[in-house]
């Protein structure tokens, strides 16, 4: 079971690098969406016996992260008719190097962390740290609002991975509440992206500079 788990997390780590290296917005969106779906099925692997709420949460996560939110972002992209090239503040090679270096550091560094024996052999913690780093690099290093939202999605995926450490000990009610909040959050962001596009006729966050001291 741990093998399948690590395989899926390894896939998610690869998708981080894809998102960092992509020069076209649709492929960044796809990377974030596939990563969300891959991570969405993890709770099914982690639970020893099947519980209907776990199944529901997994199906909900896959549906929302894999289809609803990417759909919303792609719609905004079509409506905006903007240039689909990603414009980086931090260039592709430096962000890729940052991501790769961060992943290696996360895998090496998490050996030093005080983890319970059942978590020490999995990639859960390094995967979480590397995804959080990737998300932050995308949030800071990209100019279009849509690329920043993808960064936020990957950041959330990383935190979600970390949360899986607690899946056996926290009540599922709390976990589903957290998931619901995240989903609504990204949904609200998607709607605001749509509105910004209409108000500014652009999704370039460099144009959001009226308010400054």
């Amino acid at each position: 079971m741990s093998g399948a788990l690590n395989l899926l997390i390894g896939l998610a780590l690869g998708l981080n690098l894809v998102a960092l290296a992509s020069s076209r917005l649709p492929s960044v969106i796809t990377a974030a969406a596939v990563q969300g779906m891959v991570l969405g099925v993890l709770p099914l692997l982690l639970e020893h016996e099947f519980h209907w709420l776990v199944g529901l949460v997994a199906v909900g996560t896959v549906a929302v992260k894999g289809f609803v939110i990417p759909g919303l972002l792609r719609r905004a992209l079509r409506a905006a008719r903007i240039d689909r090239e990603v414009e980086p503040f931090i260039g592709f090679i430096p962000s890729l190097l940052l991501g790769a270096g961060g992943t290696i550091a996360a895998v090496a560094g998490s050996r030093a962390l005080p983890l319970l024996p059942e978590h020490a052999g999995t990639l859960l913690v390094p995967g979480a740290l590397a995804s959080i780093l990737t998300g932050l690099v995308l949030l800071i290093g990209r100019m279009q609002a849509i690329a920043q939202v993808c960064g936020y999605l990957i950041l959330e995926n990383g935190i979600y991975l970390f949360g899986l450490l607690l899946i056996h000990s926290t009540p599922l009610l709390v976990e589903s509440g957290i998931l619901l909040d995240l989903v609504v959050g990204v949904f609200v962001i998607g709607i605001i992206v749509d509105r910004i596009q209409r108000a500014f006729d652009s999704l370039d966050t460099r144009k959001l500079t009226v308010l400054r001291e």
């Binding site: 935190i159 450490l165 957290i178 001291e213």
Partner: protein, 480 residues
Amino acid sequence: MKELLLIIVPLAGAALAGIWPGDRTRPWLLPATGLVHAVLVCWMLVNPPAVAPGAWLAFDPLARAVLPAVSLLFLVCAAYGVSYLRVRAERPNRVFVASLLAVLGLLSAGHQARHLGVLWIATEAVTLAAVPLLHFNGTARAFEATWKYLLVGGTGIALSLLGSFCLGYASLHGGGGGDLTFAALAAQGPGLSRPWVLAAWVLLLTGYGTKMGLAPMHTWKPDAYGEAPSIVGAMLAGGVTTVAFTAVLRVRQVVDAAGESAVATRTLLALGLGSMLLAALFLLRTRDFKRLLAYSSIEHMGILSVGAALGGAGTWAALFHVWNNSLTKGALFLSAGNIQRAAGARTEDEVAGMAMITPVSAGIFVAGLLAVTALPPFGPFFSELRIVRVAFASGHGAVAAGFLGCLLLAFFGLTRLVFAIVDGRPRAAAKAAGGRFGETASVIVPPLVLLGFSLWLGVATPSVLPEAWDAAVRALFPVP
């Protein structure tokens, strides 16, 4: 049961607002719900209910010490909101009214949350429910402010989730059974895994500090407060910041129990004084009087943080200051809203001589300014004095000196801008616009009531409040 009513009543009001047919009558749901909520909270303030030990949501001493202030602020803002929405009749208000009521319900949930996960869910939901309020004006500037709020606030709240997981893992690693209520975590105390507790403290303080608007996580605040309608600004500055502050206090209790209170004290002091200094410097140069209120709010969050760093007595003063800050800042926001509407602008380049155009609002604004810069006999003077005294008594002389220095700088900055817009000769455009703006009782009485509360807290604090703050401090700092 009553603690759940505090959450359900506003949420039911929000649902009702969602299906209510008339735009003209819908705003009355705000004061109606606010009144029920305030009566219920005040009744519970006087007759505190018993708290079940393992409860996830309860009107516990900490909630009792601060939630009534938020409820009173909401009631007054709601009364003001009726006339505000009548003036803004050109915009549909369904989403606005529903979101504002939802914010009240979720704030009640956040204040009463005794579970790490529930606390996070409630504060995140408040953040999201406030989004439609921020871009109510529908301008490009409003959307820009909303975007910054979402991105900075969202990242902050994501970090606090990570911090919550770390704290949960600290418990799991220390052999805990996965009970994530604050009481259980504090009871586990030294059994918590230290490295994870420290990681959790840093992340949670960053996350909830972003929500409070502590520097350097404050960047969303001037934009959001500047672009949002005044009642929204008042609720953000007096309600949302308060829930984040109680969250910090609850987490701090666990960190103390784990034996890391020295770290907590140092970080709170550094963030608090840093916020005060940064806010004071920006207050000296900002030209926009609504952004001025945002910087003043950052300064007061710094004051709360310094108070919380100074142990039990300091936390008592900080709880007192929560009341003063919420109610006084509310008066400032509402009167600033009147001035802005009469003048049609917000910067000192365009606005002057408002004492002639809106004499009453200008008067309230100046009185509120003096209250917020700690002029006796207004409440903030007494709470800030108490913090200074605690600092001296506990051997933090340098902290007290820095604290007073920042207050002085902030005083210069605030008075500079406020008198620039109140004094002088009115601009021609403002005269024409001001003629159309009537200072009716419905826009004057609410800020006046809030100012009255601030004065009341200073001159004659009702004895039930110190008792509630005592109880909260006893719960947060149990004597071993």
